[in-house]
């Protein structure tokens, strides 16, 4: 492991909670509904993070707890029953219903597991119920996906069939590209988790080789290990370097030669390098500060330094699993400052002191920093854009070069006014 500086910070945070991940999970599994059991705040959070109004009826909603539900727990269970019945009557196409715990439901210890069990019996063969917590007292942003996937693992049947299992939500087009490349490498049995249909869960077992596509899946990984799966240790497929190492690690697990991998991905690498050039020109030598939010920060820092030649001031992450991030940390430049956790005020003091060229941050902080003359990139865009893989490396770089380029345009004087 390279000499990386690890720091921990506690204090007031400025991050999304795990409920936010419903925004991409529901799109990945169009036959699933996500029912948050929570407060008006939960409903307001999700609609503020997602463009809910564009849906005639979104496939997520909130069962809002009211005063009478807080009085006695038996009531709350019955009320939830009623809400679920209404919902299923209204949306008969729903195959899986996720009961999602929230801060208030966790604090009042509403037992969603028991509720799910009862509902599973009643709706046997029609709808499956699973529960997990997306609460902000336990999860940050992307950790919501970790919880949702972990909750699905007990429903996955066992099989000793050899397969490659890609774990973590990917954009559909990226997933298709990856599968094509793996097939070209000679790996034919490839599945994804989460799948595109909630009912088509992959079977897993001792010959399942898990390749993570996202860095925020600690709990899911642990449970997959318990089911006998092999976890392939690799950096994450962001940028050319990360993706190359990722393909190589998978190939090694399937005893495919490095030569073969290079033979197949070399043309991709060459054209990706070409595409990356114009972005690199803008990013090179620029100083980057990443505030914590998505847990993608370490991989992004590695890509932006190693391939785009940016200088790293500070790499924040809401949570650090050193084991899972081992390969990534190894690729970071020496003396990289990683800060786990947050004291948002102190961190913003450091942002101002270090005068970065670009800050990766949440939406609440972006405009205030811009108003201070600091360019920003919203971290939420990383989870909504197809950024994985060699072919997307330039697009990923583009997310960061665009604010700088725009800044340049707006401050330049190219036209003379007559």
């Amino acid at each position: 492991m390279s000499k990386v500086e690890f720091n921990k910070e506690t204090g007031p945070r400025e991050v999304f909670c795990g409920l936010t991940s419903i925004v991409w999970l529901h799109r990945r599994m169009p036959d699933a509904f996500f029912l948050v059991v929570g407060s008006r705040t939960c409903a307001h959070l999700i609609q503020s993070a997602a463009g809910v109004m564009i849906f005639a009826e979104p496939r997520f909603g909130t069962a809002i707890l009211e005063e009478k539900d807080l009085a006695g727990l038996a009531d709350a269970h019955e009320e939830l029953d009623r809400v679920v019945n209404d919902l299923i009557a209204r949306r008969p196409e729903i195959k899986t219903l996720f009961l999602v715990g929230s801060c208030p439901s966790e604090v009042i210890k509403l037992d969603l597991a028991t509720v799910a069990e009862k509902l599973n019996k009643r709706f046997l063969g029609q709808v499956r119920f699973v529960n997990y917590s997306g609460s902000g007292i336990e999860t940050t942003f992307t950790q919501g996906e970790d919880g949702a996937l972990k909750a699905l693992i007990p429903l996955m049947e066992s099989s000793d069939e050899e397969k490659l299992l890609l774990v973590g939500t990917l954009a559909n087009n990226v997933e298709d590209r990856f599968k094509k490349i793996f097939r070209n490498l000679g790996i034919s049995n490839i599945e994804s988790f989460p799948p595109r249909q909630s009912t088509e869960l992959p079977k897993i077992g001792k010959n399942t080789k898990v390749l993570l596509t996202q860095p925020y899946l600690s709990d899911t990984v642990r449970d997959l290990k318990h089911r006998g799966c092999d976890i392939i240790s690799a950096p994450f497929p962001l940028g050319i370097e990360g993706s190359t190492e990722w393909f190589l690690a998978a190939a090694k697990a399937f005893k495919i030669s490095e030569v073969k991998v290079h033979e197949i991905i070399s043309p991709l690498i060459n054209r990706a390098k070409l595409a990356l050039e114009s972005h690199k020109e803008i990013l090179k030598g620029k100083r980057l500060f990443l505030l914590p939010e998505s847990q993608l920060e370490i991989s992004l820092a590695r890509f932006l330094h190693n391939e785009c030649e940016m200088d790293l001031i500070e790499v924040g992450t809401p949570y650090l699993n050193k084991d899972l991030m081992k390969e990534e940390i190894n690729l970071l430049p020496e003396n990289t400052k990683i800060v786990e956790g947050q004291h948002v005020e102190k961190q913003l003091d450091r942002v101002r002191e270090s005068n970065p060229d670009l800050v990766v941050c949440g939406m609440g902080l972006a405009n205030p920093l811009e108003a201070e003359g600091i360019s920003t990139k919203w971290s939420i865009e990383m989870v909504f854009s197809p950024i994985h893989g060699i072919d997307q490396a330039a697009d990923l770089a583009g997310l960061f070069s665009k604010p700088l380029k725009r800044n340049q345009i707006l401050t330049s004087k190219t036209l003379v006014t007559h």
């Binding site: 400025e14 795990g18 705040t41 809002i64 949440g362």
Partner: protein, 523 residues
């Protein structure tokens, strides 16, 4: 428990944030978990604010719950006070903190600060955003002014005469994330100033705690947004005898009535009554012949109480529409909305469920919807033009240009915003008159948009299919020529119907005659 897919209002602590963020020298310590920090983006993204809301979230976690969350609250209060040095501190809790009962307000009061501390108790499981904003503004006003009550005489609205100066009023209620508040305030101040009336304080928007303490320097209060300011106005009336206005100056009639009400309360003679009629272009625009087509247009109205009621009056009395539906999501305003609906022979729709509103729109079959951003989307799905008249706020509702809803300019804005989505009057007339003319056919897109199909698209797609339909039916030259003569907005339908007819009758080639046969068959 209530199933909610989308909500018109946020939780009450977001209302408190609206007050805190609207003001200067105030800080709000909110006992809340980390996810609640999303609310910052409402201000920084929707309002495009260049400053963070003055809010410190304690962001307690599950592991803190076993320990001492009260200590965490105190630590955050201490740090926030040291860092931000507010003149007044608001302390409260969000839904989750309400359950763990740390009583952050009491904790703050025990910490020995010598600034006013407002303890906000906003029940998250029964109340909503506007109530929270109203309660916060009320508690703040009360905290800052209660000490002075006993020394103060009742404030006479006529005392400006004794003082030998122009009358002074406060404008209360405008806040961030309120609909067009920024511009309404400018418009109303301009109108009052023209009438020789000075603005003492605008609050909460742009006010500091010092300004709140100065509220009692004015003679009366203008209650501009009752959802936010009525409770405070009522308290100032009870304790200081300050009168407040009831008329909301949206639309010409209400603006004139508002000016009258202010003059009556202040006992100030209204000298330019006649001029008022001509201050806005709305009355003449509405009277001009082009607006004939507006007569009896069916309009469905839904929004917050204040804007919905005002919209109903303007629609009916100033634009000559027929109001076919009226409703609000503001339960606090339900009584007034019901009364207005009754005057229109309607039953008011009081609901927080947008699907119910969408169903009501479908049933009422209006030609125009005046609603929130959600109704704009519902109307889009139903193919009905829509104009947005109310919160919840969307980035579109914070336009760069001056765009009030109140006063004379507000009436101008309303005329344009409501009428443009409808097809322009003369244009509609002309389309109807000339729709069979050959020259008319191409490129004249209807403002309604939803039924229009571009000729080019149809012809291009025909070419791709080598002039044949997908069922293998051939369009002959005469058939194609005739199709281009059909008005663009029904051409797609005529094409489909003719093909359907040809299949039905087993006709392999469509000529001009087939078109007319089909037309007769389907008419």
């Amino acid at each position: 428990m209530e199933l909610t897919l989308w909500t018109y209002e946020g939780p009450p602590h977001v209302g408190a944030m609206r007050i805190a963020s609207s003001m200067k020298d105030i800080h709000y310590v909110l006992h809340a978990p980390q996810g609640d920090t999303y609310a910052d983006l409402l201000f920084t993204m929707i309002e495009r604010r260049g400053q963070r809301p003055p809010v410190t979230y304690t962001t307690f976690q599950a592991r803190d719950l076993g320990g001492d969350t009260a200590e965490l609250v105190k630590k955050n209060i201490k740090e926030a006070v040291e860092r931000f040095k507010p003149k007044t501190l608001l302390v409260g809790e969000s839904c989750t903190a309400e359950l763990i009962q740390d009583q952050p307000g009491s904790l703050a009061k025990g910490m020995g600060f010598n600034m006013p501390i407002v303890n906000l108790e906003l029940p998250a499981y029964s109340k909503k955003e506007n109530w929270g904003a109203s309660e916060t503004f009320y508690q703040l006003t009360r905290t800052l002014l209660k000490e002075k009550v006993s020394y103060s005489e009742k404030i006479s609205p006529l005392r400006w005469k004794e003082f030998g100066r122009r009358p002074k009023v406060n404008i209360l209620g405008p806040s961030l994330l309120g609909f067009r508040c920024r511009d309404d305030v400018i418009e109303i101040q301009r109108i009052l100033s023209e009438q020789g009336i000075d603005t003492n304080v605008v609050a909460p928007l742009g006010a500091s705690p010092d300004d709140i303490e100065r509220l009692i320097d004015a003679e009366i209060n203008i209650c501009l947004y009752p959802e936010i300011a009525e409770a405070s106005c009522e308290w100032l009336k009870r304790n200081y005898g300050m009168e407040y206005t009831n008329t909301i100056p949206i639309g010409i009639k209400n603006t004139i009535e508002f000016i009258n009400e202010v003059h009556e309360k202040l006992d100030l003679p209204l000298t330019n009554k006649k001029e008022l009629e001509n201050k806005s272009k709305l009355p003449w625009y509405s009277k001009s012949v082009d607006s004939n087509y507006l007569t009896g247009k069916r309009v469905f109205i839904f929004g917050d109480g204040t804007h919905a009621i005002a919209a109903a009056k303007i629609a009916k009395e100033e634009l000559g529409f027929e109001v076919v539906g009226l409703g609000t999501y503001s339960r606090e305003m339900a009584r007034q909305v019901r009364a207005t609906a009754k005057d229109l022979n309607l039953e008011a729709l009081i609901t927080n469920n947008y699907l119910e509103v969408e169903d009501a729109i479908k049933k009422a079959a209006p030609e125009l919807v005046l609603g929130t951003q959600m109704e704009r989307h519902s109307a889009k799905r139903l193919g009905i033009p829509c104009s947005v008249i109310s919160t919840p706020m969307h980035v579109q509702d914070v336009p760069a240009r001056y765009s009030p809803q109140m006063g004379w300019e507000g009436a101008n804005v309303i005329f344009d915003d409501w009428v443009h989505p409808l097809m322009m009057g003369l244009e509609e007339h002309l389309i109807d008159m000339f729709k069979h003319d050959f020259e008319f056919v191409d490129g004249h897109q209807s403002h309604l948009g939803n039924t229009a199909t571009n000729t080019k698209d149809i012809l291009n797609s025909d070419e791709k299919k080598e002039k044949n339909s997908k069922e293998g039916i051939i369009w002959t030259e005469s058939g194609r020529a005739e199709l281009t003569k059909v008005p663009f907005f029904v051409r797609g339908k005529v094409k489909t119907n003719t093909e359907k007819y040809a299949i039905l009758r087993g006709i392999p080639e469509i000529s001009d005659e087939t078109l007319y046969d089909a037309k007769a068959y389907f008419s």
